[in-house]
């Protein structure tokens, strides 16, 4: 049992194997992700009842929450892969971290933009410094920018991999602290609605589209990530024989 798992992991870490496997997985991720997003959009926009306080303005939750969740998710993926890359010297893990960074930054930006648009009817301002989660998302965006600029500043790929891995691990220790300190600093955001004791405080007609959107966004993110890692692997292995065979085979 364990032996099979090890063989599977070992194979997964080899770039040509991953390249082929990812190509087979990507369409499944795209199709299931887009179907779920379509369900979430239609059900969320047309069938979910309007909020009794916020009216129709609350519907931006169907983009805001999945984006905010993915901005954290991408950072965790980067931290875990950076750790794997540093400890087991697995190059593929570094490629995953490098490929996830722009996606994470983009979802963080999306969360900030939708949060700010949501804030306009709710708080009457585009930006509210008193809201801890919006502020910690902004700091998150800076962390992503720092990671990407550090990578961009180092020419040698293996050095950029390791240096950025150290940075992301230091950042990962700090993210909960930043979150907590910003929370302590001030609180104006609505409390957690999904993850809390006694089940979610949201009506099921609103909840299911939201869960669909979260899962759909995650699958879509997975497809994008796999595609980006494939490109990254291809670029990193550009001098290896299997890439040459691949290209020669395709053009022949």
């Amino acid at each position: 049992m364990f032996r099979h798992m090890w063989i599977f992991l070992h194979k997964l870490a080899s770039p040509p194997h991953f390249y082929g496997l990812a190509a087979k997985m990507i369409p499944w991720f795209y199709v299931s992700g887009l179907l779920l997003i379509a369900y979430g959009t239609i059900a969320g926009l047309f069938y979910a009842p309007a909020d009794y306080q916020q009216g129709d303005a609350f519907r931006i939750i169907y983009v805001h929450v999945p984006a905010a969740y993915l901005s954290m998710m991408a950072y965790s993926i980067m931290a875990i892969s950076a750790g794997i890359g540093l400890i087991w010297r697995m190059k593929l893990a570094h490629a995953v971290a490098a490929a996830a960074a722009p996606l994470g930054a983009w979802f963080t930006f999306l969360a900030l933009a939708t949060g700010s648009i949501w804030g306009r009817p709710m708080w009457g301002t585009w930006w509210e410094w008193g809201d801890p989660r919006l502020t910690s998302e902004l700091i998150m965006l800076f962390l992503y920018f720092g990671y990407m600029s550090l990578r961009a500043a180092i020419d040698e790929t293996s050095k950029a991999d390791k240096a950025s891995a150290v940075l992301i691990l230091v950042g990962a220790v700090n993210v909960p602290i930043i979150h907590f300190s910003v929370e302590w600093w001030s609180s104006l955001h609505q409390g957690p609605t999904l993850v809390r004791e006694g089940g979610p405080a949201i009506e099921t007609a609103m909840l299911y589209p939201l869960l669909g959107m979260i899962l759909g966004f995650t699958l879509f993110f997975g497809a994008l990530l796999l595609a980006r890692v494939r490109a990254e692997v291809l670029h990193r292995e550009r001098r290896s024989r299997w890439v040459r065979n691949l290209i020669l085979g395709e053009s022949a």
Binding site: G146, S149, A153, V166, V170, G171, S181, V182
Partner: protein
Amino acid sequence: MTEPANPTLWQGFAAVVKRDLLLAYKRPGDMLNPLFFFAMVSTLFPLAIGPAGDQLKLLGPGVVWVAALLSVLLSLNSMYLSDLEDGSLDQLILSPQPLPLIALGKTVAHWLVSGFPLVLVSPLIAITYQMPTETIGVMVVTLTLGTISLSLLGSVGAALTVGLNRGNALLSLLVLPLAMPVLIFGARTVALAAADDAVSAGVYFLAAYCMLALSFAPFAAAAALKISNE
């Protein structure tokens, strides 16, 4: 002066600190520039905003903290730079002493040269901002803990960016987001003290953060030094 053949950990640590302090003493500009910067930034705010006393009293804690953060940042870039240029960084990495200990020694020297003077000067600035006397004590305590944390965090950033072309601007981008909790707790605690509120929570947090940074930062800095110097 004869050195023992096998120096102890403490001797190695002390030698690094002593060397860096001596270097700073020989180049007083490195030590004074961040201090002048600190004083200058604190002067800019009243000039830009106006001399109204109530406003300055409100702004004081924040201004002192932002100025301290920026001036520590200013001095971080040179932490490993001269060692890289004259090749002594290679010797430090090759030495039989554990690298985290050496990184810690360099951080301690950095704090003594650029963090500690800020703490000493800060009461003067607080007085010009008409902050009450009791607040100044809290400010000195939080600044001490905060600048130590900043030096430790910064040592990781400095080790990661040493030898990179656009190092200085990049260093700010790496360290500033990580330094937010220190800024938030430092400035807010001083502001709470000014409003006669309880300050112990903030001070405890800063002390805890300082301990956390002290436990992890030297190891991260050592790993980063090895990576950037390979």
